[in-house]
Assembly symmetry: C2
Homo-oligomer: 260 residues x 2
């Protein structure tokens, strides 16, 4: 059974402040929790229905500090989901340093002020699919350890390092290396017609405001995804996560041996 | 002020059954409501904060049956959003017949059992961007007039006709016309390497189960989006709305004069 103190602590992890101070965050659901366990992450607390607990292999226990078996209605009390899964866990936030060598040898996404947790989650999932290992977010972006982000990323936060960094500091360092920086603009060149590089930075702006003008000087190629609608009135933009998916796909298509 | 009956009715439109029986649904937010008004849709009831009401041009009134001005806290009572917008409206569900001529002269998306409202909403928004005017959903898909779908589509349901149809009936009719049908499969041909047609059907399966085997016989070309990750373990798929965006982009790129 869960103590009131535990319930209180788990619920408090809904707040970014508590997550930052405690260095912990919540993951939920069979698939995601198993992935974290298999990846060897330290689980501070695992709260599961007894039937789920029974399916956990012996070797998984070595990285789990505490396990509490509960009934469904107890799980419901602590879950952020309308229909809770059969397991929830508290894990420790990882800390990554930027590996510049890695950045200069791959594509990296730079996100300015992305607000919607679902967008960040699906962008991380897309990055994982396209073999992108680093995402740099401006400090005012939604927190990657927000449960909705974790949920939407479907475990991809295990494979993509999400850093929070002052974008000017980051871009200043990048510009010293003469590294290509692509940014999405309404007046950009159709991405299909662009020469895209194997490695580089793809800068994506806020859901409504786009890329802020102060970052424009770092862009070496403005790109856009052309609109194919006859009625353009009222269609201002693609969702930022859709745009990310299409652009990542174009980069890989052009630089990994697909020519058609 | 809103009567209790009105509040009750507005809230009841959260249920698909009430939406179906009354033939009405809810839209929320300045941008979406204005788009519906500008598109000439009939608004049965408009509930707005007084300051928003004042911004409404005179000519807009002809299609609005009833306007009720309220305070923010009243709007909060009826809104499905955590932070309600300053306007909410009840509109009449449109009824579309399938126009076969239109289907045979464009790309059409066929969605099997899409469950997540956010996914359907962003797929509709993506379809609008790529000039796709029809989406066929299996009857067990999430309802397009679910508020989360309407919200995520950002007004694109004004430009894309979403039909609910038995997919076998639809595909039988399509197969009579010898029309190309593309379906996403893990063992499909990389979409980048495929000859894609200007017009055709793109079939997308359920979020977890994919395309059901009974629909496979209708597919004329299996396609996939290749995974570019070194660590493929644990990455099973792209989100279905991401996949849709990438595939639509590929079709338009290849058939609208982009050659690189």
């Amino acid at each position: 059974m869960l103590s009131n103190n535990k319930i209180k602590f788990i619920k408090s992890l809904d707040n970014k402040k508590t997550r930052d101070e405690s260095g912990q965050f919540i993951i939920e659901g069979d698939k995601v929790v198993r992935e974290f366990i298999n990846a060897g992450w330290n689980i501070n607390l695992l709260v599961a229905q007894t039937k789920w607990r029974k399916t956990l292999p012996e070797h998984a226990l070595q990285n789990i500090e505490e396990i509490i078996c509960v009934e469904y209605n107890e799980l419901k009390k602590i879950s952020s989901l309308r229909t809770p899964h059969n397991v929830l866990a508290i894990v420790e936030k990882p800390e990554f340093l930027i590996n510049w060598n890695e950045i200069l040898n791959n594509l990296t996404l730079v996100l300015e002020t992305i607000q919607d947790p679902g967008n960040l989650g699906t962008i991380i999932r897309t990055a994982a699919w396209f073999g992108i290992s680093n995402i740099i977010c401006s400090p005012d972006s939604v927190d990657v350890f927000n449960q909705k982000v974790v949920q939407a990323s479907m475990g991809a936060i295990l494979r993509v390092k999400v850093h929070y960094n002052n974008l000017f500091d980051f871009m200043n360092r990048i510009s010293e290396s003469n590294f290509p920086v692509y940014g999405t603009y309404l007046d950009g060149k159709p991405v299909y017609d662009c020469d895209l590089s194997t490695n580089g930075i793809i800068l994506l702006g806020n859901e409504s405001a786009g890329i802020s003008s102060s970052l424009e000087k770092y862009i070496t190629q403005k790109i856009k995804i052309p609109c194919f609608s006859d009625i353009t009135e009222g269609i201002d933009s693609l969702n930022v996560s859709m745009a990310t998916a299409i652009i990542c796909s174009e980069f890989r298509r052009k630089t990994r041996g697909y020519s058609k």
